[in-house]
């Protein structure tokens, strides 16, 4: 059985439609028109939204001016308040510092009976003690007492001599770190 061959031709048959000018005209009336309309809509939309955005911007400018003026009016107060805060911070920082009188009192409280101190010097994190003792046992006791206190560390005996004035006495020098 012979089948009929169907021919499909999508190209336009009319002469003018097939010509370049015809195609151009048809494109201008269809696709180009839609493109122009969509572009115009977008541009018009943007143009209209500008009115709204400009109005909003202008309102915000007014608000900014008012609020800036309000803050400027209080600038002197702000300055004095900030100075006050800084002063309080300084006071707070210094209140936290270690008190040397407490440290020295602690050291003195640990001196055994047969030991007497000649000098104590205290710096931020260290102290140096110079004293005389009737016996080495007294010095050992003093060091042991200092070691027992958690506030002191790295206690070292730097010097141990007989006193020039009284050879029965021992002069010692202790260095320690304060926690």
């Amino acid at each position: 059985m012979a089948t009929k061959k169907k021919l499909i031709n999508l190209l336009p048959q009319e002469e003018f439609e097939a010509s370049t000018l015809g195609r151009l005209l048809r494109w201008a009336m269809t696709s180009f028109r839609y493109i122009v309309i969509i572009t115009e809509m977008v541009v018009m939309g943007a143009f209209l939204s500008r009115f709204w955005l400009d109005a909003q911007n202008s309102d915000l400018n007014d608000q900014l001016q008012i609020k800036t003026a309000q803050i400027k009016a209080q600038s002197d107060f702000e300055k004095s308040f900030r100075t006050l805060q800084a002063k309080l911070q300084i006071f707070k920082d210094l209140s936290k510092e270690k008190k040397p009188s407490d440290t020295i009192a602690k050291i003195v409280a640990k001196v055994p009976g047969e030991v007497s101190l000649q000098s104590i010097s205290f710096q931020e994190t260290s102290a140096q003690i110079k004293g005389v003792a009737g016996s080495e046992m007294g010095i050992a006791q003093f060091i042991s007492n200092l070691n027992a206190d958690a506030a002191f560390k790295d206690i070292s005996l730097g010097q141990l001599n007989s006193s020039e004035n009284n050879p029965s006495l021992t002069v010692f020098n202790i260095k320690l770190l304060i926690k």
């Binding site: 999508l10 943007a46 400018n61 309000q70 308040f81 800084a86 309080l88 300084i90 205290f122």
Partner: protein, 217 residues
């Protein structure tokens, strides 16, 4: 033979003419004319109409958003200032005390007076008071302080260095040191030394206290 731009012109003219000839000869190529034109139009409109419009709108929206943020920050600052103002009013009675504790000027004369009062209370003798160099204007010499192994007292504060030499019994010296530490005007004691010397009249205890007092300008 043409040289330079003429040669290039001839070459590309040939290509272009061939394309036109090819377009005229092949009917199927004509089908793409609309597509090509549409693409060209969209590109031109996009570049010269839509892009500037979009850029303008985007920049405006950004500007509005930034201003809104700034306004909210300003609102917060105004609220904070109101809170500060009410706090200031509530505590107005104690604010002069803060000014006494950390004055706006070094005021060494007031401090010396306080030392004398403390010494007299604890029955110790003030052997000497020396006040170090004070920077009244400009920045403190931080390098000098670092050399001396001193940490700055607090950010933004200036300092007056003092050295006090006192003599008396041990209890009096310790009490004087305690009173100095607890003065309304805070002092940072950098060094404290007690030394005992024996003389004909007996033991003499001398203490030297070195410290720094803050002030703010």
């Amino acid at each position: 033979m043409a040289l330079g731009w003429r040669g290039q012109y001839l070459r590309y003219k040939e290509y272009f003419l061939n394309v036109v000839v090819l377009y005229k000869q092949r009917r199927d190529l004509k089908m793409f004319l609309e597509v090509i034109l549409s693409l060209i139009t969209i590109t031109i409109f996009g570049l010269f109409a839509l892009k500037p419009t979009a850029l303008t709108i985007i920049s405006l929206v950004k500007e509005v958003n930034e201003k809104e943020k700034t306004i909210s920050l300003l609102d917060q600052k105004i609220a904070n200032l109101d809170t500060a103002s009410s706090l200031y009013s509530e505590n107005s009675g104690v604010i002069p005390l803060v000014d006494l504790a950390v004055p706006n000027q070094p005021q060494p004369e007031i401090f010396v007076g306080q030392i004398q009062a403390v010494a007299s209370k604890n029955a110790v003798q003030v052997l000497g008071v020396s006040v170090g160099e004070i920077i009244l204007l400009g920045k403190d010499d931080q390098a000098k302080k670092k050399e001396a192994g001193l940490k700055p007292l607090s950010t933004g504060s200036k300092e007056m260095t003092v050295s006090i030499s006192i003599s008396g019994n041990y209890q009096g010296i310790i009490s004087t040191a305690r009173d100095l530490e607890n003065l309304r005007r805070p002092i940072k004691i950098d060094a404290f030394g007690i030394n005992t010397t024996t003389s004909e009249s007996g033991n003499i205890i001398v203490a030297i206290i070195s410290g720094r007092l803050p002030f703010i300008q």
